[in-house]
Symmetry: C2
Subunit: 425 residues, 2 copies
């Protein structure tokens, strides 16, 4: 197979961006071409998204971080979301997803696409459900063609990747319902799809029209992000039959898409106890033919609402060390409320820390060099040098505060362990 | 051997607290007695610390969290530290360490011991060095007997555990200096000891007088926390010869102490890349005869100053899953400035999250039940029930904010995945 030759939009993007991407990733052209062609890497970028920053996801490219933003029915303020977009960019997110479910969705989406060069993802199903809910209809009161039309419309607007829950089959939904889950289905896309199937007693509309979906997305180089509608929403549910049924279906849908020239990522599990994270990631990678893995968390405990950026950093770092390629951030607001701009910043930083820790563990030269640079600056108490190499220089400046002109930090002062032995004290 | 029979203060503490501790830990009396007698668990509590809460550390007891507080030369304010003490207690720390290096150290220490029932630890060497520095002398200008006197004085004040850097031998210091470390010695106690040895060309004073130290500490049931003066302060330095030389010396010092009836914990590494954490912990536990392991971090990347509570939560959770018993918190202020009360709270929470995640991974019934309770409350959207089971109920209340009267949270509102399928929408 040759995925690139079947996708002229991708081919053009690759030609235009290869110089930049090889430098950014410190990879040679052949590695990138071969990886993208085999589907172990994807190059995000829809030609309709003007000025999009072509972004490579998948080993051996660096681990990427996504920030979810967007309105909700209770907090519907476009300006607030545009601030969150700016916050995500400033904090160093590689991509964003607009998950808006309230307001003028087309307007918000096109404003974000115009504003930001970061590849942007969406969940097209939200737009369908919102229209029906606004009209006081059942959220699932839509036909197959409307789903395809929404996907095509967003592809033409420039959306770079789309979460499509093609693996939420009737069998998977039944397994989730009857399999003794503590928390059932916790994915919004998953639950809407399950509701649609239950009402109509029909199979997942994406699955029955998968060839058409692929064709639309291939044409605009929209990368398919095969959604984890069956992801466990509780540690107790991790690794059950519903979860793996979906992975198996996603693997097959992914193969079809790649054979037709469409790029594919696979979305990964949600709440997973620490002892299972590495094996889940390795098993998923195996089943999905080494496609790039895009994980939400995983959250390694359910008990820390208000701190799920930390539970996700623990799970995300282990996942990334074990094969995950793309970390979807989780903010401190998760499970409680819609994040604000400060939450977005904290979420991105937590995911970047997880990625850095994983890349150090994997021995990636750039990550190791960054850690070494910081350590060398600590040895000589060169604060400007340390600040420049830190993941968040602004935070370092802020925390040093009124003591920033001192040689030692305010934690130890003249008790500094470094100075105790460097001959200066 | 029978440690308990050689330590009458411990024996009395055990008799007085066994009822409470068996309930708290959900362990039977024989397990606790045998563990304490064998040294795989320690029961913290100095009879001179009135109203001390006897606290069990070591498998199979629950994982404990320590909060470091105390003044520094640049931020010397006793009231601030008493607020941090209150913050640590409120956040759920099991122990505190007073690491003050400025002000009236005896006054601060006794005030904290009077105020708090939490077992309290110190580093007696700080008091010695501070006195000399206040007198414009070299910080290491002290004699053996003064060190023993300081330990005895603090033991009589009621200090429950003391960090003593007995493993900083001349050989270890030489290995740290000549072994190609990026960052040398980063422990304050380690660097002061190395300086003392270098100036006097003598072996570590604790090591040469170890029997006397043991005798003082046994008498007051002060648990020896054998300090990691050679801990790596950079990921690049992790696992070097200096680090392991110290562990080997600590293991021997620990055996001597236990044989004499004195309780012992071993302090663990600082900066360690993720891929090495589990093996470092397992190797340490093996070398030190399964003594309780008290770890600082480990910090899995050097590159995140301002967020080291997160890098420590990643390393701490892996360490605790791998055998560590006691997590010393790290706050967002680490490496930059002295923490304030808010930092203390955040640091304790991050360590409690790491402990909870590890205990879930280990299948500890109480931790698994807590996660399940939260998940069950999520399923039925019972917010009061969820809040009560959360690690930080105050944070949950705070973040739900103005939307706390709504059925769904403000992240999804009517798009709630749970409600989409529960028949109520």
């Amino acid at each position: 197979m040759s995925l690139i030759n079947k996708n002229s939009a991708l081919n053009a993007l690759l030609e235009a961006s290869l110089g930049t991407v090889t430098t950014q990733e410190n990879l040679d052209e052949a590695t990138i071409r071969n990886g993208v062609d085999a589907g172990s890497m994807v190059l995000l970028g829809n030609p309709n998204h003007t000025n999009v920053r072509a972004t490579l996801v998948g080993r051996p490219a660096t681990i990427k971080v996504n920030a979810n933003i967007g309105t909700s029915p209770m907090l519907n303020n476009t300006e607030r979301e545009m601030k969150k977009l700016a916050s995500a960019e400033e904090a160093g997110a590689h991509t964003i997803m607009d998950l808006s479910t309230a307001g003028d969705l087309d307007g918000i989406r096109t404003a974000m696409l115009t504003k930001s060069p970061l590849p942007m993802g969406t969940v097209p199903l939200y737009a369908l459900a919102k229209k029906r809910m606004d009209a006081d209809c059942d959220p699932t009161d839509f036909e197959h063609q409307e789903f395809l039309d929404e996907i095509e419309s967003q592809a033409k607007q420039g959306v770079d990747f789309m979460t499509l829950h093609v693996g939420v089959t009737r069998r998977a939904a039944e397994l989730a319902e009857t399999g003794g889950r503590v928390l059932g289905i916790v994915s919004r896309g998953g639950s809407i799809t399950a509701r649609w199937m239950a009402r109509r007693k029909e199979e997942n509309p994406l699955l029955t029209h998968w060839g058409e979906v692929i064709e639309i997305c291939r044409e605009h180089n929209v990368t398919l992000s095969l959604g984890d509608g069956m992801r466990p929403g509780a540690g107790a549910d991790a690794g059950d039959a519903a979860q793996w049924e979906e992975v198996i279906v996603l693997a097959d849908a992914g193969r079809q898409a790649r054979e037709a020239g469409c790029q594919v990522m696979i979305e990964g599990p949600g709440h997973v106890p620490m002892n299972l994270v590495a094996e889940h990631i390795a098993t998923m990678k195996r089943i999905v033919d080494n496609a790039p893995l895009y994980v939400l968390g995983p959250l390694v405990t359910d008990a820390a609402p208000g701190y799920d950026h930390i539970t996700a950093a623990i799970g995300g770092s282990i996942a990334a060390m074990s094969g995950a390629d793309f970390l979807c951030y989780v903010t401190p607001a998760e499970h409680l409320t819609l994040p604000d701009a400060a939450d977005v910043r904290e979420g991105v930083m937590a995911s970047r820390i997880a990625a850095q820790a994983a890349e150090v563990a994997l021995g990636r030269p750039e990550a190791v060099a960054r850690d070494r640079e910081i350590s060398a600056a600590r040895k000589t108490l060169e604060w400007d040098r340390l600040t420049a190499a830190a993941l968040d220089p602004l935070m370092v400046e802020h925390r040093r505060g009124e003591h920033k002109t001192e040689k030692e930090c305010a934690m130890c002062g003249k008790f500094c362990a470094i100075r105790m032995l460097d001959g200066t004290l």
